[in-house]
Symmetry: C3
Subunit: 143 residues, 3 copies
């Protein structure tokens, strides 16, 4: 009897998990999420990259699209020479996570296209990209 109650209780705990909004995420209608990275320290960068990982694990990689926009000090995320971070970025890219660099930041910090990890997109202004994604239905979360 105790066991049954424990099982039921476990089930109730599971039921308390996040309820999906409608329409539920699917391959045809994936969640679209955009994260900014604006700080340049290891902890901040890793926090966002881990968030992307967790979100993908939850939805399943085919039911979520993730774009990560790096500007201000966050541009460090995208530098080839930061080998440890670059390895994590490349790994997320294999799951089609988009990485986007802010052109304004690149100009201010004198970063060249060839300094960036291959496959990174460049836009004129990181914040404008956030605004336009939001208007296209992407969910903007600052992890």
């Amino acid at each position: 009897m105790k066991k049954i109650i424990a099982l039921l209780f476990g089930a109730l705990l599971l039921l308390a998990d996040t309820e999906f909004a409608e329409p539920k995420p699917s391959i045809d209608n994936p969640r679209k999420i955009v994260f900014p990275i604006t700080h340049g320290d290891d902890e901040s960068i890793n926090h966002v990259l881990s968030s992307a990982n967790n979100v993908m694990k939850f939805y399943g990689p085919e039911k979520v699209m993730i774009a990560i926009i790096c500007y201000s000090k966050g541009i460090r995320t995208l530098l080839k020479k930061e080998k440890k971070i670059a390895a994590r970025v490349r790994s997320l890219m294999t799951y089609d996570v988009e990485f986007i660099a802010c052109g304004n930041t690149m100009r201010t910090k004198n970063i060249k296209k060839e300094d960036l990890i291959e496959g990174v997109e460049i836009v004129t202004a990181g914040i404008v990209e956030l605004v336009e994604r939001d208007l296209k239905g992407w969910i903007y979360i600052r992890p």
Copy 2:
């Protein structure tokens, strides 16, 4: 005469306050607001808890629903052993403010359900909860 002008001027200042969006908040149609807590220092945590208080005072507790999602270092907000913070959390709970813990963070930091203040909900991933609330029409603000 001067007094009348002063009174009129005072009225004009009041009129400059926030204009409600339509439909206006009401008991049947309360504002729904979701705040994250991601930092673990007293100041950051108290800032969000005070923000919840201010928002409730402004709308009136029956015209607003507030959910506070704690993840990363912000999970400290929800620990029983942090007695001062826990007192504030419990006080907000009496006004039906929801407090939600990120299960991923709990696993990473080895925090057990029994370490959390009674009444806290647990979800698999704090950020996913933010995404789904947003899609259900909650307003996401990072205080």
Copy 3:
């Protein structure tokens, strides 16, 4: 031939820039963007003011409306006595950027109306202003 390829390649890079959401920004239908300032250090404040500048440069000042809401330590942005910052604020005001002070913060920090730069609006609660703007279709971004 190499030159032509280089030119084409340059064109492709340009094409990778931010695509506008529909309807595109126009004088009749400008983008509406709201930024908070919540930190009081020079770097944080200047980061948001520069973001406002970059966004205006991108869209053109007549195709974007920007409101900057200052609360908590960010209220420093709006103090007359901070002459360097005040000069930047006044310069943005000439482009119709709105600056809004949180009344709750002013009361807590004992800041008077006359301490603020002329032209600043005051609302009861900065976060409520963010919520209501969001519901009126403004895009909330934390730069």
